[in-house]
Amino acid sequence: MSITLERPETTEKDATPIAVRPGRVEIHDVWKSYAGVPVLRGVSLDIEPGEVVAILGPSGSGKSTLLRTINHLETIDRGSVTVDGEFIGYARRGDRLHELRESEVLKRRTSVGVVFQNFNLFPHLTALENITAAPLALRRATKAEAREQAQALLERVGLGDKGARYPRQLSGGQQQRVAIARALALDPQVLLFDEPTSALDPELVGEVLSVIRDLADSGRTLVIVTHEIGFAREVADRVVFLDEGELLEQGPPSEVLVNPRHPRTQEFLAKVLA
């Protein structure tokens, strides 16, 4: 399953905005432990450009940790993670990996957007300012361009009239939709979602899921950690089951969710669907 492709080091991409092209994520034999306790144990996973992958698993199984290794928010002890053949945290020279300087890591990180469980919107900035913050700080756009783009993104998530609101003046579902718009502002090739709806009241979950559904249809690479089995079945091309840091089972939702092979998966699904 895990073939590491040899690719030449791509040179720095210039700042000109390119039409979104989905990215390929390759996770190869990743190990990670906290203070000697293993959290990820040899996880390998290849995600095709444009694929929508749902990661399922019991609490504490390492789902968030795995997701965070993809954009180097978490370092790994062994193995490799690449996005479009590039290491986010390292540069490869010959057979050595050199740790990159922070500014370099930050630049590469912009190809991966993240949506957090707790939204993590900047509370002192308005919805619109939240979205324009990154494009402006990274000089990707002029002020007017950034505002225009942000407004378009807000409209896309159904919040065209809420740009002037501060996050605390929005409902949870609206905040999460702003967070999604913010993640989209840099045109990332890959979008990561860490339980995007688990901090929401049940009646607000739908509006966020429908935004994610639209993104899935637009051909981006999405990696979604979720407890919404029904949603995973509907949008995911592939479902991955993680338990105690090991990738136990993966396949199309019609297989993994309907006829799970591994007893741990069966147990988990029985519990969640009960």
Partner: protein, 362 residues
């Protein structure tokens, strides 16, 4: 964040539920309808708090007594007060006090931000250097520091650049006395001392910002400088400002320690005068009134600064005293004109007007 979620969704919910509860059950509905009143249609009698009235009366009485003594006790010697309040010596002293306060605040908080960032840095060299600075400058009494800076020429008659570990300054050399004037010694002493305290206040504020904020900023690829100055610091400001204002206010009065290097700031100036004419009380009142004026202005500044950084932290900002007063006058005016006081729009309303009031506040 999660706390905010709760509050964000509840109000709408609660309202809807209450409505449903009232209409859903049909049997007691008629009963309830009879009890239901429209608050705008009837007169509401507020609760009387007799204890507050008694307490208020006592306070008013005591204050009135004090004010009465101001007019009747001629030991206050208001004539002398008036004579010296705007005198050149006093005003020059005041200006010097303000200069020292501003200088020490700028040096103190500028350096304080760097020290706080240093203490939180991952590099152990930076964090221990910052720690050592704070340890040292909190240990040495300010008075000692001032005297040392002022007399630095005694320790090092010349300062310059040259061969390391020698006193051979062949590149540049200056006499310490010309480099460190009285004023420079005061700024250095007050500023460096203040930096140690400000650093801890700022660090406290930085720690109060949720780590998810840094993570989100990092995930967006925001450069370190932007993360610190645009994301973390403005949020930290909310808890920094009240303490910082305390520091600045104590600087205003604390600047009087520079008398040890014979700088005539406000308090020293007043002392010089009353040592000459022995009118101690009126001259102390001169100083006190000036200090009160300065502190009042600073407190007002603090109020608006806090308000500025509070934007986004509450759903709707409460009106400023000025806005409240304006609203009150409008209501009274409407009453006088026999109009309907209820027709005056409330000061707090939708979020958008708050934004505009906020802009005005800046």
């Amino acid at each position: 964040m999660s706390v905010a979620d709760d509050t964000t969704t509840r109000p709408a919910d609660g309202g809807a539920n209450a409505e449903q509860g009232a209409t859903a059950s049909t049997a007691p509905a008629a009963n309830r309808n009879r009890d239901r009143v429209d608050l705008s249609a009837v007169k509401v009698v507020p609760t009387r708090h007799w204890f507050r009235w008694v307490f208020g009366a006592v306070v008013v009485f005591v204050v009135a007594q004090l004010i009465w003594t101001l007019f009747t006790n001629d030991k206050y010697d208001w004539g002398t007060f008036g004579q010296y309040f705007f005198s050149e010596t006093v005003v020059n002293g005041l200006v010097l006090t303000l200069q020292l306060t501003v200088g020490a605040t700028v040096i103190g908080f500028g350096l304080g931000i760097l020290l706080a960032a240093g203490r939180l840095s991952k590099s152990w060299i930076l964090s221990s250097a910052s720690w050592a600075y704070i340890w040292f400058f909190r240990s040495v009494p300010l008075v000692v520091q001032l005297v040392v800076w002022y007399n630095l020429g005694y320790l090092f008659p010349q300062i310059g650049l040259g061969t390391p570990f020698t006193y051979d300054f062949w590149i540049v050399q200056v006499d310490t006395v010309t480099l460190i004037s009285q004023m420079a010694a005061a700024f250095l002493g007050l500023g460096l001392h203040q930096a140690a305290y400000s650093a801890e206040i700022i660090r406290g504020g930085l720690l109060s910002v949720d780590s998810g904020q840094l993570e989100a900023a990092g995930a967006l690829g925001l450069p370190r400088r932007v993360r610190f100055f645009r994301i973390v610091l403005p949020q930290a400001a909310r808890s920094i400002i009240p303490n910082a204002a305390n520091e600045v206010i104590s600087l205003v009065k604390g600047a009087s320690v520079v008398f040890v290097i014979a700088l005539p700031e406000l308090f020293y100036a007043v002392q010089v005068i009353y040592n000459r004419n022995s009118r101690v009380i009126p001259l102390l009142i001169v100083a006190v009134v000036w200090y009160t004026i300065v502190v009042t202005l600073l407190s007002i500044g603090q109020y608006y600064l806090e308000r500025h950084y509070a934007k986004g932290s509450v759903r709707v900002l409460p009106p400023t005293p000025l806005q409240r007063a304006r609203h009150w006058t409008r209501v009274q005016w409407a009453r006088l004109g026999d109009g309907d006081p209820a027709a005056v729009p409330a000061t707090t309303s939708t979020p958008d007007p708050t934004r505009s009031t906020d802009r005005r506040a800046r």
